[in-house]
Subunit: 263 residues, 2 copies
DNA sequence: CGGGAGTTTGAGGCAGCTCAAGCACCGTGG
DNA sequence: CCACGGTGCTTGAGCTGCCTCAAACTCCCG
């Protein structure tokens, strides 16, 4: 089953339905307490795969701690990062339809992941109508997330994408009880670029540019957000000194022999 | 069956569960026949809105005939086309999570749409376990579709996106029993561009380029696919349009009547 | 201390965008 | 019937944001 994809020794930790729901930010229901079903935790080390493309689907997964990425591989063999699941996120949903996972999930750090055997989970849903609705709700949430990604990739500039990425990360960290101002990236520039539809160089340059104009400070993986609201609303960077010079040079080059513009 | 793909004026007013499932391409189940619940059809004229952003959610929708678009509107008021639902497609799913629709759905042609009151629909799911699984499956399918979009927007060139768009459309038309070779686009260049993360000019130019090198013929909304497999595997057009023309000319020069000089 | 993976930065090129102009199509009203 | 206006489509020309290629630097780990 999971053995070949790097299953670590099974932890002795188990979670109740109530705990799982709380993790997933699902509205609680008193009746869940009655259920004595326990869900198993599994530990993964950085780099290990939780599931791979084409592997038969039988589980959903919820992140209890740690950081992961999910990756699609297109027809031409290119990897594309689809999401960075972290505490409270559900993944594996894309396996439901075709009975096989359509993406792969990789641990970016040591992780603690809760297994939700799909059949078992949905059968509990029949006993607890609230849970069933909640499952639909979580899947809907995932869909909305993907729609937001599509929207972002379809219309935002590189700077705006990176800015939103930082803001989203910050909010996630804050939700998890960490600082939303200072944090360490868990992924490489390459992975961020893949996620945002940019090259790693563009990501690096954009972060450096944000750093230069005081929106953030960045040192390798360490990030500090300095101007949250500017990041939030950023659409396009103001002309840099370099670009300003360039524009000024162009303007000067044009004016001497050019016509005088009427006021 | 519902195979009457004809005009809306004679369309049926109600469908059985069995018919809805068949439309959705959900594995059938004999027990559905027992259910006497009927689902209402509603007709929309081109341009009419089925639901708008922020409107309270209570229904899912299935397209019985006609063509629609779903649109997100981002923070800055920009429209972004998210999908082009057509016969057999489900939409409205993004409303489940927040109890309000996150996107709006607009009819591109006259449409016949089946209403699925969410509460009623899921409560039937409790009686028919197969149906419940099927609902999960359809939602999972939608998620996979969005993932594919993200993947496309993140990594493919303009030409590849347009080519895939045509191929996907073609396959959908074929599934619906129409010709997959010749069809009319139901959406504007602007809408296609928004969907693919391109400008309308780029869409237009790309279609013209495909036309010039013989992959398709295009005249306004009328499309004919000439080289399906080339469209399928197309990654990037030869370097520039100029050179593309050149190459096309060279290729044609090899065949008898192929003497073509660059314009 | 050496090697590999990740990051930064520069220089230059090109795909796709912007701006602009003209054409095609279609419904409406004279 | 045609004139007319509005919407959508095509095509051109120029620009630029992001990519590509390349080199050097940092950090980590054995």
């Amino acid at each position: 089953m999971l053995a070949d994809t790097g299953l670590q020794r099974t932890s002795r930790l188990w979670s109740t339905l109530k705990e799982v729901c709380s993790l997933l930010r699902i509205p609680d229901d008193a009746s869940y307490g009655q259920h004595d079903t326990l869900f198993q935790h599994v530990q993964f080390k950085a780099g290990q795969r939780i599931h791979t493309i084409g592997q038969p689907f039988d589980m959903l997964y919820v992140v209890n701690s740690g950081f992961l990425k999910t990756v699609a591989i297109d027809v031409f063999g290119n990897e594309q990062v689809l999401s960075f699941p972290m505490k409270g996120d559900l993944f594996g949903v894309d396996g439901i339809h075709g009975k096989r996972y359509e993406s792969e999930a990789v641990a970016l750090s040591n992780c603690d992941v809760i297994l939700l055997p799909f059949k078992k989970f949905t059968s509990i849903g029949k006993v607890h109508p609230e849970l069933e609705t909640a499952i639909y709700s979580v899947m809907s949430r995932e869909l909305i997330r993907e729609q937001a990604m599509v929207s972002m990739l379809g219309s935002l500039s590189a700077e705006a994408r990176v800015a939103r990425f930082l803001v989203n990360l910050s909010e996630r960290f804050a939700e998890m009880g960490y600082s939303g101002r200072q944090f360490n990236l868990r992924m490489t520039r390459h992975e961020i670029g893949s996620y945002l539809g940019l090259t790693l160089e563009t990501v690096s340059r954009t972060l450096s540019a944000f750093n230069e104009i005081g929106l953030i400070t960045v040192d390798q993986r360490a990030i500090e957000l300095k101007d949250f609201s500017a990041l939030r609303t950023l659409r396009r960077l103001p002309p840099s000194r370099g670009r300003a010079k360039q524009l000024a040079a162009n303007a000067l080059a044009a004016s001497p022999e050019g016509q005088v513009t009427a006021a």
